[in-house]
Subunit: 478 residues, 4 copies
Amino acid sequence: MPDALVCSKLNEACGVCGGFAAGQPLAYLTGLALYALQHRGQESAGIVAGDGRGGRLWHRRGLGLVSEVFPRTNDLKEIPCRIAVGHVRYPYQQEEGCLGSSQPVVLRYRYGELAIGHNGRLINGPGLRAELEAEGAIFQTRTDSELLAHLVARQGAPDLEEALAAVVPRLKGGFSFIVTDGRRVIGLRDGYGLRPLSLATLKGGGYYLASETCAFDSIGAKFLRDVKPGEMILLDSTGIRSRQLVQRDRSAFCVFEYIYFARPDSNLLGKNVHLVRRELGRRLAREQPVEADLVSGVPDSSISAASGYAEESGLPNEMALVKNRYIGRVFITPTREMREQGADIKLNAVEKIVRDKRVVLIDDSIVRGTTSLKLVQLMLRAGAKEVHLRISAPPVIASCYYGIDMPADEELILFNRTADQVARYTGADSVAFLSMAGVAAAVGLPEDRLCWSCFNGDYPAGRPDQGGADRHTNSSDR
Amino acid sequence: MPDALVCSKLNEACGVCGGFAAGQPLAYLTGLALYALQHRGQESAGIVAGDGRGGRLWHRRGLGLVSEVFPRTNDLKEIPCRIAVGHVRYPYQQEEGCLGSSQPVVLRYRYGELAIGHNGRLINGPGLRAELEAEGAIFQTRTDSELLAHLVARQGAPDLEEALAAVVPRLKGGFSFIVTDGRRVIGLRDGYGLRPLSLATLKGGGYYLASETCAFDSIGAKFLRDVKPGEMILLDSTGIRSRQLVQRDRSAFCVFEYIYFARPDSNLLGKNVHLVRRELGRRLAREQPVEADLVSGVPDSSISAASGYAEESGLPNEMALVKNRYIGRVFITPTREMREQGADIKLNAVEKIVRDKRVVLIDDSIVRGTTSLKLVQLMLRAGAKEVHLRISAPPVIASCYYGIDMPADEELILFNRTADQVARYTGADSVAFLSMAGVAAAVGLPEDRLCWSCFNGDYPAGRPDQGGADRHTNSSDR
Amino acid sequence: MPDALVCSKLNEACGVCGGFAAGQPLAYLTGLALYALQHRGQESAGIVAGDGRGGRLWHRRGLGLVSEVFPRTNDLKEIPCRIAVGHVRYPYQQEEGCLGSSQPVVLRYRYGELAIGHNGRLINGPGLRAELEAEGAIFQTRTDSELLAHLVARQGAPDLEEALAAVVPRLKGGFSFIVTDGRRVIGLRDGYGLRPLSLATLKGGGYYLASETCAFDSIGAKFLRDVKPGEMILLDSTGIRSRQLVQRDRSAFCVFEYIYFARPDSNLLGKNVHLVRRELGRRLAREQPVEADLVSGVPDSSISAASGYAEESGLPNEMALVKNRYIGRVFITPTREMREQGADIKLNAVEKIVRDKRVVLIDDSIVRGTTSLKLVQLMLRAGAKEVHLRISAPPVIASCYYGIDMPADEELILFNRTADQVARYTGADSVAFLSMAGVAAAVGLPEDRLCWSCFNGDYPAGRPDQGGADRHTNSSDR
Amino acid sequence: MPDALVCSKLNEACGVCGGFAAGQPLAYLTGLALYALQHRGQESAGIVAGDGRGGRLWHRRGLGLVSEVFPRTNDLKEIPCRIAVGHVRYPYQQEEGCLGSSQPVVLRYRYGELAIGHNGRLINGPGLRAELEAEGAIFQTRTDSELLAHLVARQGAPDLEEALAAVVPRLKGGFSFIVTDGRRVIGLRDGYGLRPLSLATLKGGGYYLASETCAFDSIGAKFLRDVKPGEMILLDSTGIRSRQLVQRDRSAFCVFEYIYFARPDSNLLGKNVHLVRRELGRRLAREQPVEADLVSGVPDSSISAASGYAEESGLPNEMALVKNRYIGRVFITPTREMREQGADIKLNAVEKIVRDKRVVLIDDSIVRGTTSLKLVQLMLRAGAKEVHLRISAPPVIASCYYGIDMPADEELILFNRTADQVARYTGADSVAFLSMAGVAAAVGLPEDRLCWSCFNGDYPAGRPDQGGADRHTNSSDR
């Protein structure tokens, strides 16, 4: 579960949710759903609401956490609506701090208003954008949501459903969109099902879509099923309809959602994330055992895997690292003395636990290696005799093009380095990874239903256009 | 000078400024210029800055006063730039509180980035928008700035100057635009010169444009000349160029800028606003004399006219109304007792001054009549024996289509009522206005160089398209 | 009328108000009264409310304007109460930014709760404090309100009225206190009546006290009379009582309230402040005429005097200086170029008005001389041919010990300099003052009913104790 | 570790820290230490700093988290100081939201300035306060810090050390004080050592005191030793001195610090809190075994105990409850539908994990029973077959008088109910507790060195005065 407030790690590009229902405070429920999806994006939040009859859309968007953009969340109950769409966002670096890119994007086109929120990334975005620009289009954000709006508007089809049916097959990459024109709410998932999107029924009637099932739990909605790869779900006053827009020969759900992104209480393709992570830990213990005194997970994302490793290995599972939950986004720079003492205001290595101990430190991934370096150094300064880094996933050797904000290949420490080299770099006594097979077994799905591109460079939905101006480099320091 | 914080009156649609200069903190100077233009728009503020070489534009926009959007104004000095464009905005009612319409609009099109801020209103906006929508354009704001961007983008001309030269002649209405593509800053004024835009040199070199000259004073810039109607001014690293894009048979500068909007220390077409207003007061005294004991102006906009009236009439100029400068945008509703006592938290009528006196109350305009009603009642409750309302302008009988946010004709109290009827409605002993000839003489310009449309319904630049969805009604209560 | 937001000038030490009334939203009315008194203190605001039966006091205090401390002013209507006391404060420099000194001070003593707010300054404060400290008292603020509470508490009298009756005669200096114990509201004024305090009836029944009558107007209260020097007013459920605690041989109301501090719509000792100021201007014109082209007042405090000077002299009254009302408390430092151009973001001298003109600039006082220097320089840079500074008061030559935050004698430019020396320092062509006799005549009261200490060094209530640690020096730059 | 943001539980009354050191940004380090102590109080934060030579104290206090009161934490580096004292506070209910009670209390007395922060509660506070009030003292807060200041001030001893030496023996109850007079920093601990206080050396020289050792880790300070019960530690420019002020026949450290309050990475009396909690879990498994399918701890405070229980019992340790870390202090009320579905926005029970399972739910305490009820219901709605509540502590049957904000005896669900009755009330299949002997063994200290008053009603430092107005009841709903 990503926590941009503490560690600079990989960042998911967003969470979306939305639904259609009468007689319920849908904007309010959408606010609660956004709280549950907050881990998927902490830079901005937004909600759009409509009466379900095509009346003018209400919207509010802002920079910050849901609690900052909607500080009086209860007031959302007062917004009369039958339609709501919500969005939380973690920005690609180039867009950082730019309110303009907050979603849902709201706009007016020939046939009325549109609001769009999405999670994912189009690999042919730059090409489509260039094509549109050549025809005179202007872009006010870098979001794929704005891009989709342009495509819909140029389609010239008065009916949104038909416009989307014509446009979606042109989109390449990984994406889940939620779109509304004020009369219906439409969910869309790419043909490989790279990014998650699930469907639920609301207790009081109506349907609800969300990136993760934990959002359903938070509003008392009942999980119905996952939206299928390539499927379009239409929610309106007449109920629900489905239409298959794209058909691929395989599906390829992002395995990283299991490993790191999703909340442990979410279920993805029917598998509970915490249970998968525990099993990743168990299999890691089997594949990469080590003689040691204790196991400890890096909080919070590796707690489940660590408990699995501990159980399987028979080693005690200790809390060798404690995270300060109150730092927030305050900018703090350590003094020289603090640095010399290895003091870290956000993470504390507990000397009483690790002093003279051989520690197995469980983490979920190594990206740039800087976070691993810091973690190992914290352990060593606290007196650990040995530090064995065990990663509950394979080495990340290739960048992601489908919606995870990852550095360029050459910035990935494992792009052209071995585990031993990483061990030397970080100061760890050993570094070892779980195999793809091990991950697949832990998930309980065949390898060919998952996307492994960041682990093997094999991109099921293809690589970006040549003019790939959209492959972002960023400064996240892991 | 409009003051949205105290009286709900007519509202100007914006203030713009911007320039090109090397070696100076141009973003900071633009911040200061915005403080000076704040009376032209208090809903949002924004600044765009660029390196003058086409590098990516920096921008920040937000809802609120300049001091709220840029609370650490001094920090703007740290932004290295040779280009800056600033904007303050008072929104048309439909857009209220919607950050999306903050300006300058910043966007990307085929040939790079554009930022646009404007003041005014296009009467063929709806038509152009419909035309563009039919071609597939999408709109994220209701601003004419976005509209101009679309037109430029569709022009397909790689050179911004040529694109604007082709597009501007298609624009109808009153407008002053400031546009930048990161390499130059371009100022544009409609062919009738309806809205103001002036040019200055900066002490350290470079040029600066602004809606009012008071902005130049605040940054130590030296007024050079007004931008001519229909003129395009280009500022870049090579200096300044001018190009006449549109030529009309007459000019028609908004006379209301003199009467109400502009700051008294600004000069418009070479005439100082305070001096014009004093002369309005003098001529009003001559045209509409009245036997009375004292003269008092409604603060702050009618102070100058009141002093002119007093001088000419020989009556003492008293401070019969005192404004509380600290109320700000706090929402306060009076109690019944307060209402019964005529207590007003924002304006206080001074009993010691008006008790048993015949008061000439000078105001600059009557729009809906509700403000006049309140003012007369305040005077009467404070004990005035007679209240003679004298307006330093003709009756407003027609809505404005060129950038002033005015109610529809039928909501204007003088649309189909006489001065006597208004006197009866407000409780005044008499109501009288200055003639158009008197105003023209006070300004010192021939009538046919000014726009009098709100006074005579004669629209020099034409009326809006039929599909005039953009003629806004609003709730301002004057 | 002081405006700490724009000019650094003399600062009043506070405004107080409060009353007893049933069936009215008294906390809300007190909030409105504080808005009206805001010019007397902008550093902090506070309200205390009680049920009038001795129930626990509600209170809220904070740094900032009334609109910042009570942003949802209307919510004050929800506080059920029959008692309320309010306070706004401009701090003595040593206390600046220290929330601890916000008033009303609320505390618990032997016989229950007390809340106290005040305006003024005790000259024997340090001595009383030392005495109390020697007996073991601790002080958490530097306010005289806390000091009064200590004295009351040590009195050992269960009845607050008796305790105050015993304590007040020990207090020396200028003060108006409003005190509540949750059962009644008590107003107190020093024996010389140095600081203002007036009494009104509320429309819905009950009584209200306030530093200035403009507070009554803002809540629809009807002025009854001024509290008498040395008088104690008791408001409770049985009505109103009065008790004379101290009797001096003369009264000595602060003449500076007329000259500068009070709002123009307030009446002090039955005299309207604006009318007094106009008369100050008239008499100044007679005493200190000058051949010139125009008169202009420094906004906002000298506008009334300027109109009087203009009328009497027959010169036109122009708006040569325009103040930006939107700067607020933003900290802005000019660039070198701005300084060279004489650009000032807060005050703009209007070249069109003053160019080649002989200007009579009316101000209300010269303290340190730095503000006068700036004003004259603004005029000269704007092209004035001559600048004649005319002050609607005598020279300030001695510090105030009774509640006005003034620099030490030796920092007063006129402490040991002549008007001519000041003219040379500021660059003015001449500097001249109104005589004390002229001021007294304008006020319409005998000289011996007013305090002239800052003009003649004659302190009716005496000078501070030797240990005068409380005579503050400060950095105000006038 | 308390988390007022999520569960309403028992609340510690504060965290304190402070030290003396030259050449280091001590105010900044104190800010960081407060971040580490934030779990001990989230209502207000404050820092006092001084030059160590008796110069005037700088201070800032405010309501909110450390990150809210000191949003630009890095700026604290600019405060030149050799002394700093910090405080975070969770208020007793009566004081809630009252800035006045923020600490450190700063005041002036006969011999200069004092600043005092504390953690704990005096049982003879009401008596001492009444005694002082009878002598004329006034109280502006309800804090024991202000009370101590009064006692010091009345002592009449010019030397703070001597004054404290005389006063401290009069104090009864549990407390740790940190006091400074601007020349030295003094730490004080009650004679039973009820509340924690530890001492460390700073890397760059100087000493530092803090409620918990995790504060030392966060600033790179090195733990030296715990302050002894009854000891006074004096830190000044000459180094460190110790003086034993009070000597009791036994010590009685609050065992609840181990069970619930302290951060897991802190060491108390040399015992790491996480390791103690794990051992509590192990012993609980041995004392209260149950046939089940899985173990789960209530986040975050029972995670350590749950891992111990799981290890000892051989049951898998699952994450059956997931906490939303982003809710903060937003006030959210569920809809009826949400309630019917058992939806909780802050805690989510994971159906995939608990469905048809027998769950051992580990929590650290049962106070009012309402939280336990909610937890059990969450489990049952998520499909748990059986829920066995296991508490890693004995039943809480008596209120605390030494600094923990606990309800009155009769509001404690176990005050006169059996575990079986609680099981029936909450719907749990069984409820069982760890014995005092088990706790003592887990801590590794003899029972008679700990305070067990809330478990056995035996108060080592006595019960409050009869006039015990200070035994607060509150609304925490556990």
